[in-house]
Each structure stands twice: as C-alpha cells, then as structure tokens.
Symmetry: C2
Subunit: 402 residues, 2 copies
C-alpha cells in the first residue's frame, strides 16, 4: 500500500503518463446509406438474432433497411429491449439463442440494445450455471458470440467499445461488465438516423457523450498533453454543434459531427495513459435505479456537485478546461475553475436539462440514504481517480444535488 | 466524370463529411519496461525472423531485451535493413523466410525496418512470380504473414498503420504499398528508447509526424470539426514538446508525448471522413531518391512552397491553422494564412532543419526536371486533394523550394 502511494505521489508530482494497452478492433462503416453493408460483414452461414428496442426502428425506415440487407440470412427477431436493458428480458432472448442455435447477434438500436446484446454475446458462451454471475462477480469476457451493430441513437459509445451496463429491477441493481471479447465486429454509423430522434434523446446523447469525456479528463493533471487536447476537442465539438442539432436533427452535416463525437468519447482512446474518475457514473446509475431518471440526466445532476465537492483535487484541471474549452482567461485558478463548472451546468440547462434532483422527483431525499446503503453493502470504500471518495462523501455530493 | 465533379462541388459547398471505413486492429503496449510483452504476443510455436537496421539496437540495450524476451522461440536474425528500406536487401530476407519456413516476423526498429517487414509480410504469402509487382502494380495486401513491432524511433506511425514505402536504388524508385493485412498484430512503444536517439533523428521524427498531420488536414475545409481539432491537437502537442525533447530526449514524460503523438499522426484516425492531400510526400519521396536526403527533411523543403503555390485552394484552412495552432488572430484570411506558413517554416528551422533544397545539394537544379520526368513517365496527371496539381505545377513547387 505504501509503495502504491509513493508511486502515485511520484506520478502526481512528475505528471508521468501511465503505461497502457490499447486495442480496438471494431470496424466502423460511417456515412450515408451504409446499412446494406451488414450483408458483407456477417458470415454467409450465420444464424442471426436481430435485437432491437421499443419499435422506433419500424417507423423511421431502419427496420426495412436492415431486413432487406439480411434477406439471405436465417434471422430470428427479438424486439422490446427496454432502456436500461433489463436482465429478465435478456434471459428470454438467451433462451431463444440457445434453443435456436443462433451464432451471430445483430444489435439495431442505441446503447441499451447494444449493451443488452453484449450481455447476450457473453452469456451465450458462458459455461457457469448462473449468467447473473457475469455481472455480480465481474467476470471478464475474453471471447463472446460475434455480433454487429446498426447504431440508431448516438450517445453511449457502446458501438465501439467493449463495455456494457445491465439493469435488474428485481434487485434494484445496475452493474457493468466488459472484456476484449465484447467489441462489436462491426458497427454501421449512418448519421441519417439522427433525423428522427426526438429532442429529449438528442439532449441525452450530447450530455452522455460530454460526461464520458469529463469522467476521463477531469482528474488531477497527469501531463498527457495529447489525450487532454483530444478530450477538449470532443467537448468543443459537442458544444459547437449542440444548438443546431437540437434545432434541426435532420441536418446531415451536423448529425455527422454529433455521431462521430459520441463514438470517439468512449472508444478507449482518451482514457489511455491517464487516471480516470467515473464517480459521476457510479452515483448516476443509482439515481436511474431508484427513480428511473434517464441516464444522461443523472449525469447532469451529479457532475456539477461532484466537481464542486472535490474542487481542491480537480481545480487545476478545471482551470485548464475553463481556459481551453470555455475560453475563460481572467481570474485565479480557483475563479476560472468555478466559472467553468457554472458554464458547464448552464450548457446542460441550454439543452433543456434540469440539474437538480428535486426537479425530477418529490422523493428526492431518499437518494442519499439509498446510495449510502447500496455502496456500503457492496463493500465500496472509495471511488474516483484517487479511490478516496467514501460513501460519506457520496452522501454529501448527492445532497448537494438535491 | 461530370457526376463526380458535381458531387465534389456539392461536398465543397456544403462541407459534408465523407463516408468512411475505419478498422485498426493493432494492439499497442505503451510504456516503460514493456519489451518483455513480446513473449505473450507471439504464438508459442512461431518460427520468428527478427529484423533490424544498422545495429543501434545493439548499443542501447534494446537488442538484449528483445533477445531475452524471445529466449523460448526459434529465432533467425536479419539485420542491416537500411533507411529507405531497399528492395534488394529485403529480397535476401525473403529468401531466408522461405527456405527456413519462418512464420512470424518481428520488426525491431523505426519506420524503415517496419516498412521493410510489411513488404516481407506481404511478399512471403504472395503467389505471383515477381514480388516487385506488389509495389509496381499496387497490389493490395489482404492477408500478410503475421508480424509484431518493437518501435525504436518515433516518426512514421508505421507501428500502427497498414502502409509501407519501399525503395529500389536500381530503378530510382520509392513506392508505396498497403492493405488490411499489413497492420502489425502488436507494437511495443517504450518511450525509454527515445533517450538514445540522436537530435537529428528526433528532429526528423517531429517533422515527419507534423507533416503527416498537415497532409491530412491542410485541404479545402470539409467541415469535419472533430478530425480538424484532433489534427490541431497533435500539431500543438508536437510543437509544445519539441524544444524540451530536442534538448533532453532522456526526459521520460516528454518522450511519452513525442512517441504517442507520432503514432496518432498516422494511425488512420484523422484521415477518416476528410479529403487528404499527400502532395508533399509525393514530391518529397523523389528528393530522397535523387539526393538521399532524409525523408523528413524533404517534407520540410516542399511543404512551405506547396502551401504558398496552392494558396488559393488552401487559404481558409491555413487561416484556421493560423488561429488555432499559432494563435494568430489579427489580419485578413490571407494575412493569417501567409503568417502561418512562415511560422511553420520557422518551426522547422528551430529544429535545425533547412527548408531549401540548395542547402542540401549543389545539384539542386536537377530536381525539377527529374521529378517532371518521373511523374509523367508514371502517367501521373494530377495529385493533391483535388487531383489537379499537374507535373507542371510540381515543377513550379520544386523550383520555389530551391
């Protein structure tokens, strides 16, 4: 432990990039009219399960395009995967995969459908008795059933990474999973799909991707100059396109920027060689479990309070963010850092997103005790880049967000 | 043809990101003390050819580290691959690969050794009669013999891309090749190797990587906001670390920035969805053929003249580069654009690099006629992002570089 602390102290002082491993084998097809590419990417003899969500793909033309591309394959459909993909629903799909000897999965949807498909990719080849263990015990997926993606909702970045988050209402749990076996083999990113996304979901996508960048970037300074600048680039791009994509999601050129920025925000690149935080997500997930608040909105609620509460350890990076992203060049480090948090919060408001929990639920005071109980029951002692944000700290952050 | 022109005209007017395909499966191990990872990455039953250059790896400790990592493998060494990897030398290696039934290649070196290894990866599995055809006829390599890399010289980005450039002194030719089969399976990037690189090579690395970014970025504006910003991020990082890495290449934290920036400059990411130019490389290669000038130095000679000669079609992007990278905010578009070219040239000079051909050879006047002859013999009609830079234009660019 002492050696670890000395190592971290040295890193902090010298700002030395951390060792890292990076491999992202997902093939991206990005652009107009590429859904037909599915047919070239799926092996000819595959027996395919096509997974989707609530059926919006049946009203925006995507369903027909996918079906046309799959016309020479044996396909079983599985629709109805809900937002925050529910374990019990996925188990139904898993049973069909096994009984029908499915050997290829195709996710047609946003983060929830893709994450659900990743769980199925893992569970289909899992030898243990209870697939819930993959989540509960944090079993890493080295090899999964191959799958591809047709992205319909830019936000989570799941289309080009190997992580997933699965919910189980029965247990009030929302847990992560991952491993190198869970990269999509291919993902089709056609920005034309953005045209039919409602403004609420567009706002969610912007804030989700933006907060993904923040969680990887807003730590103590590590001196990873390029990773910092790429993170700032993604945030600047999201901010630049936000007003026009909110107003007119059918504008193709803006939809391109939106879609690619969301993918780049969480495809592994900007987290390499740097410490990462993920406190906002850890707390936010519990707000979704408790209140059913949209994932992105939970991030908008927690992020400002988190940065204010942990101001001392993050103020240098907050000031850099202020200067480079918000062009705030006047004032002390502290003044710039505070101003940046305020600007960030105002940006979330500009997307029509409330940042206080009391705006979402009358029972907002349940949040802190629930999260404290959940975290302590799980044996969580500290989160954040220093692993020093305790359940008591989390209570204070949540209360600041009321 | 007319349809193509209309399409390009539309793209130009509307600034719409181009469709793209992106897949980069190379696994990167980045950081201190990772050379031993080779043993985990190469299949246990592999018969390995270890390729290297002039022998600098035997004086800086890298050779011993690689040999130690390979101690349980059957290994044949092939040293002496020269800068601008020479076809005739590589053919000797190819004969050994075939006679010894080598099935895995390991490049230990910089861009020349890696590019040479890529040629061998392709040629070893090539069924045609003459391996020169791979270069001469531009045969794309779909599947190559698997290979890994231990990078000793950050510059070309070859450690994380699927392209190579091979020279043949006999024919006075320097030709490119590529294909999805030519991504390294893994690359070890240990920034400690930078400590023993002479300043001349460090300067070459900086300018090579910087010009790679310029060639992908400095076109007409396409409106790929994120790609532009990431390109600017790489250039800013290289400029920021240049003075200290030139002074002290043993500074590990700076070496990290240098090494990762060089890789990111040409791993495919920033070229996706945008037009790219590559005129500077096309002309520069011929200066290396004719005079043996270091590759990076040929780029420093040609880039300023190219941007001045093709000023009208590039001035908007040059002005953006001026504002964002050089913080030049005063003046008209034209004034900012010109100032940026001057700043760029001064940056090359600050690295001890001459930017006029007459500083490298007394026979500098041979260049324009030689390149004109070469390009016209190859049937080249136009290069650059508009494919409209004719051999006559090239003559003028070269003459401006005297």
């Amino acid at each position: 432990m002492k050696n670890n602390l000395q190592y971290f102290a040295l890193l902090f002082k010298k700002k030395i990039m951390l060792n890292f491993e990076f491999k992202n084998p997902t093939k991206i097809h990005f652009g107009k009219g590429l859904i037909a590419k599915i047919a070239d990417e799926i092996p000819a003899d595959a027996k395919v399960m096509m997974l989707y969500g609530g059926g919006s793909i049946k009203t925006n033309g995507i369903y027909e395009q996918v079906k046309a591309a799959l016309k020479n394959f044996e396909v079983i459909e599985f629709g109805g995967i809900p937002a925050n993909p529910e374990y019990d629903v996925l188990i139904k799909a898993l049973n069909i995969i096994k009984s029908e000897k499915i050997n290829y999965l195709l996710a047609v949807g946003g983060g929830s459908v893709i994450d659900g498909t990743k769980f199925l990719s893992s569970a289909a080849l899992y030898n243990g008795e209870n697939p819930w263990d993959i989540l509960q015990k944090g079993i890493r997926t080295e090899v999964g059933m191959p799958f591809g993606v047709v992205l319909t909702l830019p936000a989570t970045g799941s289309e080009m990474n190997s992580g997933a988050v699965i919910s189980r209402a029965e247990n009030k749990q929302k847990l992560g999973m991952g491993g190198p076996g869970l990269f999509p083999q291919f993902s089709i990113l056609d920005p034309q799909v953005v045209a039919s996304i409602p403004p609420r979901q567009i706002a969610n996508g912007i804030v989700d991707a933006y907060t993904h960048v923040l969680e990887q970037y807003m730590t103590y300074p590590i001196g990873a100059l390029l990773q910092d600048r790429i993170s700032e680039s993604i945030m600047q791009t999201l901010m630049e396109i936000a007003p026009s994509i909110m107003k007119n999601p059918a504008e193709y050129d803006t939809a391109c920027e939106f879609m690619w920025s969301c993918t780049m925000a969480l495809n592994g690149l900007i987290q390499k060689g740097v410490p990462t935080d993920w406190t906002v997500h850890a707390i936010g997930h519990e707000l979704t479990v408790l209140y059913g608040i949209d994932h992105a909105r939970t991030l908008a609620i927690i992020a400002p309070s988190h940065y204010r509460y942990n101001f001392e350890s993050k103020k240098e990076k907050l000031a850099q963010y202020a200067e480079r992203v918000w062009k705030i060049n006047e004032g002390t480090t502290e003044e710039k850092a505070y101003a940046a948090i305020n600007k960030m919060e105002a940006f979330f408001h500009s997307l029509g997103m409330e940042t206080k929990l009391s705006k979402y639920s009358e029972n907002y005071r349940d949040a802190a005790p629930f999260i404290f109980k959940t975290f302590t029951e799980r044996g969580m002692t500290g989160i954040g880049e220093h692993k020093n944000i305790s359940p008591d700290d989390v209570v204070k952050i949540v209360e600041m967000s009321y």
